[in-house]
Amino acid sequence: MTPVTNAHADAEAPRTEIDTPFGRFLVAPHERVRFPSGIPGFEDCREFVLLSPGDLGALSCLQSLAGPPASFLVVDPRHVLPQYRCALGTTDLMRLGAGADTLLLWLAIVSTDEAGRAYANLRAPIVINPERMLGYQVVPHNSLYPLRQPLASD
């Protein structure tokens, strides 16, 4: 991810310009994350990029690059719940091309309600294997974590 203001600095990599709710970004090929089956509700979004503009603080933006334009705010689940743990099965790991020791990137999708309160979806986290740039959303049937965990800590 590079701010557009640096666009003239690097002419080598064929970067794509994308518009997001947070401004315009240039995305290099190696920054693209493949989601082979999309995510539920956005099955045709097979490629995303993770953008972290400074003004989002602890939040990042998961922006679709292929398929319909979709944009999600995401947060590290442990930022919301420090003791957060989610175990992946062998099928999950295989799907990510990951081994048991692979360091994975975990993201919880953020939503807001009519009253403007923000929530993180801790039940169905997005998992990305940075080594393979492969991602998918875990759809667990027996998670105890809430679909809407309030983002605020009281």
Binding site: F22, I39, G57, L73, R78, V80, P82, T112, G116, P140
Partner: protein, 83 residues
């Protein structure tokens, strides 16, 4: 819709690599075993729908101003890093 009658331990094949087997037939429900390649996601429909709806809601409500205002008004925890 293709409709089958299957007994216990009988299966149906879908395409090359997907097999659905009837493991047990009980009063409360039918227990099925699904064998599918890793790249084919298999979900309980109602769980998938719940998460799909939540994703759609999140995509609609990520108006940055609204979400950021909500987060900034009630700051998040800062603990839990690096453990």
């Amino acid at each position: 819709m293709l409709v089958f009658t299957r007994k216990r331990d009988e299966t149906i094949m879908i395409g090359d690599g997907i097999e659905v087997r009837v493991l047990r037939i009980g009063r409360e429900g039918v227990r099925l075993g699904v064998t599918a390649p890793a790249e084919v996601p298999v979900h309980r429909r109602e769980v998938y729908d719940l998460i799909r709806d939540e994703n759609r809601r999140a995509a609609e409500t990520t108006r940055p101003a609204q979400a950021l205002a909500a987060v900034r008004a009630r700051p998040m925890r800062s603990g839990g890093r690096g453990d």
